[in-house]
């Protein structure tokens, strides 16, 4: 028996627990002991395909009633039908567009107000003292809890919908940005001062630049929170939107349409996230390298 066979025998004897508890020696070019290292693409693809297959299998064998879980084919069929005929007399693309527009407007304003407020909270004890408690107080409240309040104050029009999404984006953006202010090292700040920088220049050319990766991360987290609130925002008196579509379909027990709507929301959210990550890649290539 040669050496390789012996080793593989030994590792087989260790079993799954043994392999989890000790790391294999690395191949040249890898680093020993890095947590979570290794290629995941194939495993991820296999997981998704496996899920779809299980879904298909369960529904085809009739283990679950279509009312609870329609088959993948039925969901695709729902997608094709609604793409062609629309849903409640509104074309699918319009539902998508309306929801995206609500998201974008809310996200835009959350960034417009949230980023400067977050930076101010990080930068000045006055701003921190005034605004931090307010943000911390409303942040953990589920948006559904203050939805009625939004409706009482702002009616059932677009304002309350956009505002609800806005509020769920706003808190993580503010908190992320206020933490990002601390990204610049004290030496970087001292260096700028020792080259004759004014306070404003240090803020503009050092602190803000160093905070950019965290600002972008805050935006990513913020928009994620926004998407989670979309359906809640379209709960009341909507006539369009993906969230509205999902809610209406559920009332008529069109489970296929519900699942299709969920998949569309996931896809758009993923697209938004990808766009911000692309921005990150372009704007802060130095992230994590210093």
């Amino acid at each position: 028996m040669n050496d390789t066979a012996k080793t593989s025998n030994a590792s087989r004897r260790l079993g799954l627990l043994g392999r989890l508890s000790r790391s294999r020696p690395t191949q040249p070019g890898e680093t020993y002991g890095v947590p979570g290292s290794g290629e995941t693409r194939y495993l991820s693809a296999a997981t998704v395909i496996g899920m779809l297959f299980a879904w298909w299998l369960i529904t085809t064998l009739g283990w679950v009633a279509p009312l609870f879980l329609p088959s993948p084919q039925a969901v695709i069929h729902a997608f094709i039908t609604i793409s062609e005929n629309g849903f409640t007399n509104t074309p699918l693309w319009q539902h998508v567009l309306v929801s995206s527009a609500r998201m974008l407007v809310a996200f835009f304003f959350a960034c417009l107000f949230g980023i400067p407020l977050g930076l101010a909270i990080g930068m000045s004890s006055v701003a921190r003292g005034m605004f931090h408690p307010l943000i911390e107080l409303y942040r953990p409240i589920p948006p559904l809890a203050y939805l009625p309040l939004m409706i009482i104050w702002f009616g059932i029009g677009e304002t309350s919908k956009v505002l609800l999404i806005y509020l769920s984006c706003f808190a993580p953006i503010v908190l992320g940005c206020s933490a990002g202010v601390r990204s610049a090292s004290i030496e970087q700040i001292h260096a700028a001062y020792s080259f004759g920088a004014t306070r404003w220049q240090v803020l503009r050319h050092v602190i803000l630049q160093a905070a950019l990766p965290e600002i972008l991360t805050a935006m990513r987290i913020g928009i994620g929170f926004g998407w989670t609130t979309l359906v809640a925002a379209e709960l009341v008196a909507s006539r369009e939107g993906i969230g509205y579509m999902v809610l209406t379909a559920s009332k008529f027990l069109q489970t296929g349409v519900v699942i299709m709507g969920i998949i569309i929301i996931a896809a758009i959210a993923y697209l938004f996230d990808w766009a911000i990550r692309y921005l990150e890649h372009r704007l802060v290539p130095w992230k994590g390298k210093v």
């Binding site: 001292h190 260096a191 700028a192 020792s194 004759g196 630049q209």
Partner: protein, 261 residues
């Protein structure tokens, strides 16, 4: 240029219950034009506090710091600092980092790149102008840090253990480079180090500091950097009887402080 520290003391307020810390006590120091003053001492002796005082990051509890008979009242470009961990700005490339101080002072783009290119050449960075700083080696990053501080055209260059993070071989090369740059530019330098050999080799004046309270315990005039600049190889300078004798003397002083810890 003439920097004078007149009887400066720094007392840090006490944490609850403890006695206040006298970080520096009655410091008298003059740095004349073109001088290379090196500070050395056991940790806690107040070297960095002294540098912060000169840089203007810290105000003395009593006493004055005068630059050409003007009171130092905060940081300024005539006293630019080189840091141990270089503190470069990763979002700027090498050239932009070197030109950073000039940009802050509102120098036009063409002018500031003209000036910074001179220091990029002086520190041997001409092939890395457009490189990202985080892709450079530690020695290269520190060269950028030095070029960046020099580009501000300071009257006094403050160096806070600039070579502390470099490996031993790079460090000796960097010492020679800094001495050549010092000769070329004629700047006055205040330099902190933990290495006795480096201190003796680089300085024209050495101050050995002692802790608790931080004070200047000994002063030495040093001939070695001039010997090197006049053509004696660095290793011969460092191997000379005179150098070794002084090195042992300074080490004795520092170790006797260290044992008190």
């Amino acid at each position: 240029m003439r920097l004078q520290i007149e009887d400066a003391s720094v007392v840090f307020p006490a944490p609850k219950g403890a006695a206040p810390t006298e970080a520096l006590q009655n410091i008298q120091l003059t740095i004349n034009d073109g001088e290379f003053v090196v500070a050395i001492g056991a940790s806690g002796c107040g070297k960095s506090t002294l540098l912060n005082l000169i840089a203007g990051f810290l105000a003395p509890t009593s006493g004055d710091i005068l630059l050409d008979s003007d009171l130092v009242q905060g940081p300024g470009a005539e006293r630019s600092v080189v840091f141990q961990n270089h503190a470069l700005l990763p979002w700027l490339n090498v050239q932009e980092n070197v030109a950073f101080g000039l940009m802050l002072q509102g120098v036009s783009k063409a002018k500031r790149y003209e000036i910074s290119d001179r220091f990029i050449d002086l520190l041997g960075l001409q092939n890395f102008k457009k490189a990202s700083t985080y892709n450079l080696s530690g020695g290269m990053q520190q060269r950028v840090g030095i070029a960046r501080a020099l580009a501000c055209d300071p009257k006094l260059l403050l160096m806070d253990e600039p070579l502390g993070a470099l490996d031993a071989l790079t460090r000796e090369r960097a010492q020679e480079l800094i001495l050549r740059v010092w000769e070329d530019t004629g700047k006055s330098v205040f330099f902190i180090t933990h290495s006795v050999e480096e201190a003796l080799f680089m300085g024209t004046q050495l101050i050995v500091m002692s802790p608790r309270p931080g004070r200047i315990a000994h002063r030495f005039d040093l001939p070695f950097s001039r010997q090197f600049l006049q053509g004696t190889p660095a290793r011969s300078v460092k191997a000379s009887q005179e150098f070794i004798a002084l090195r042992e003397k300074v080490l004795d002083i520092i170790f006797s402080d260290q044992e008190m810890l």
